[in-house]
């Protein structure tokens, strides 16, 4: 995960909180939060290699397909849940969002923006977008539910989900003036702090 992205998430996560990270990858974000915010963190991951990396880092991890079971964690009181760059891989992103906000009052979701001008340009040329942020071809990508910044914010408003804070990153993985001004065209990634109304 880009350093800048994890720093934005870090700012939102309260100290000493209980955090679950869906699609935690190698556990580096949780490790960072354990060190800087003294959180109690659990990662959920399906990839065995990444699971091993978590164990190596002493990051508690649960092998689980996120599509199958966000609800399974409903009995555990989390303060915060995270889903970084995974929501677009799920069968039912809208259900996942609602379930995450049942688990914890607040959650962070980050997602790649299909409205980014390079993606639009690829589509104009009649091809599925392939960009540094979406590097795989249509037949090998796990991203089955890509959307634009506008689409995502519409979904949040339809579902009664309040966007508490948001950050838009540009191609360099950093905030830029232009990506903040016209995010749907110039942001590669949206980073959202969400709360259920």
């Amino acid at each position: 995960m880009a350093k800048e992205l994890s720093s934005y998430i870090e700012n939102w996560v309260p100290e000493n909180s209980k955090v679950i990270d869906f699609g935690c990858g190698d556990g580096s974000l949780l490790k960072k939060l354990i060190n800087s915010k003294n959180i109690l963190g659990y990662g959920v991951e399906i990839n065995d290699k990444k699971i091993n990396e978590c164990i190596k880092k002493k990051v508690p991890v649960i092998k689980q397909d996120i599509d199958m079971g966000i609800n399974e964690f409903a009995s555990s009181n989390f303060d915060f849940s995270i889903m970084a760059r995974s929501i677009q891989c799920l069968k039912n992103p809208n259900l996942a969002l609602n379930r995450m906000l049942k688990l914890s009052k607040r959650c962070v979701v980050t997602l790649p923006n299909l409205g980014y001008w390079k993606c639009r340009f690829d589509l104009l040329k009649g091809r599925m977008p392939v960009t540094p942020d979406l590097p795989l071809s249509w037949f090998e990508t796990e991203n089955i539910h890509l959307c634009t910044i506008k689409d995502f914010e519409k979904l949040c408003s339809d579902e009664g989900i309040k966007i508490q804070d948001k950050v838009f990153l540009s191609g360099s993985g950093k905030k830029s003036l232009i990506s903040s001004l016209i995010p749907n065209l110039f942001a590669t990634e949206g980073v959202y702090l969400l709360e259920k109304e």
């Binding site: 109690l40 065995d48 164990i55 190596k56 649960i62 092998k63 689980q64 399974e72 964690f73």
Partner: protein, 362 residues
């Protein structure tokens, strides 16, 4: 590998969960490697139902330890780094006090009079061993199947004496199906004409046929359907290596052979006792639920289940992790695609070894 077997006597005896007590008892242990000066590298391995203290390497009889693929120099549980201890559980038949040993108060073989023991009793006796060995705290307590139940019980009963626990192919309690399977095994032993209500050793006989049948059934439950099919299929046993004339298929021959071999070293009363302990285990027995049972736990937990295990399926492990997470216990739950059914926990695979090694070493 530096290893040592030792019979340790506990003159102080032990009170058992059943209310009975043993006025004195012995535990047969095997140790590997050395305890470091700060006494922080001790690993306790708890054996499963038919296992014993001989975990790794070759013993004087030439037998390879039951977890040799995982435990040894430079293996996942590295005996160059860790001081590894395993004891034959109370009620067993590999040197520790059990139904086939002499009752010190009567001078006769215990037989059916050996009291019922439980997972909790084992953990309590292992704790006495811990004190005897001068180990303030285990770095890691680990086991598969019934051994995993002991590791779980350790973290519940002695949270201050265990840093990490490995609970593999196990459950917080035996299922109805587990109990049912075990009862068929026990019944076949009891119905053996040589069983004599448990007092057979003094008559110079053994309920060998009953024990053999019990083990054959057990073996089926330890393997997965896929694994059995891959290993044996519907192949016929070649006539030179048939255990007897009744056998047609390889799988029949295998079960006959395994069953027969088991009766050479295992005591029928111990079989009954061990399966009773397994059936009786329920971590939440004295609590409202599993969440409450785990409220005392402070050790880090690694829970591993195997996809093809239908005896203690992965979901049982997941329940433990969930209860642990509800108690804010640092805990991981991992499923591995072991092909060998319940027995998968015994065999090394790259992912399994890495996870164990990284968990203990991290």
């Amino acid at each position: 590998m530096k290893s040592k077997s030792e019979l340790i006597k506990f003159e102080e005896g032990i009170s058992l969960e059943s209310g009975d007590n043993l006025s004195s008892f012995e535990l047969m242990i095997e140790t590997y490697g050395d305890l470091n000066d700060s006494k922080t590298n001790a690993v306790l391995i708890c054996h499963a139902f038919s296992g014993n203290h001989h975990v790794a390497g070759k013993n004087p009889k030439g037998e390879i330890g039951w977890w040799d693929e995982i435990v040894g120099p430079n293996k996942a549980i590295d005996t160059n780094k860790y001081f590894v201890v395993c004891c034959n559980n109370l009620g067993g038949c590999s040197g520790s006090s059990g139904p086939s040993s002499i009752n010190p108060t009567t001078g006769k073989i215990y037989g059916k009079d050996f009291p019922i023991v439980s997972v909790k009793d084992w953990v309590n006796s292992q704790n006495m061993l811990t004190e005897r060995l001068g180990i303030p705290r285990w770095l890691f307590v680990v086991g598969g199947s019934l051994g995993g139940m002991q590791a779980l019980e350790w973290s519940i009963a002695y949270p201050e004496k265990i840093l990490k626990a490995g609970i593999f192919a196990a459950a917080a309690k035996s299922s109805t199906q587990n109990i049912a399977m075990n009862e068929v095994g026990r019944e076949s032993i009891r119905k053996d004409p040589n069983f004599n209500n448990g007092d057979y050793i003094e008559l110079g006989v053994k309920p060998k046929n009953g024990l053999k049948t019990a083990r054959m059934l057990g073996h089926i439950t330890y393997l997965s359907e896929e694994n059995m099919d891959l290993r044996f299929g519907r192949k016929f046993q070649d006539s030179d290596s048939k255990v007897d004339g009744k056998v047609d298929f390889e799988v029949e021959n295998y079960l006959q052979y395994k069953g027969e071999k088991f009766t050479e070293n295992f005591d029928a009363n111990s079989y009954i006792l061990m399966t009773k302990a397994m059936d009786g285990y329920d971590a939440s027995k004295n609590f409202k639920n599993l969440d409450e049972a785990l409220s005392s736990v402070s050790s880090e937990l690694l829970i591993v289940g195997f996809d093809s295990d239908w005896l203690y399926p992965p979901e049982r492990g997941k329940e433990i992790q969930l209860a642990a997470m509800n108690n804010n216990i640092r805990s991981s739950y991992i499923t591995l695609d072991g092909r060998q059914g319940h027995d998968s926990f015994l065999f090394a695979s790259e992912k399994y070894e890495e996870i164990i090694q990284d968990f203990v070493g991290s």
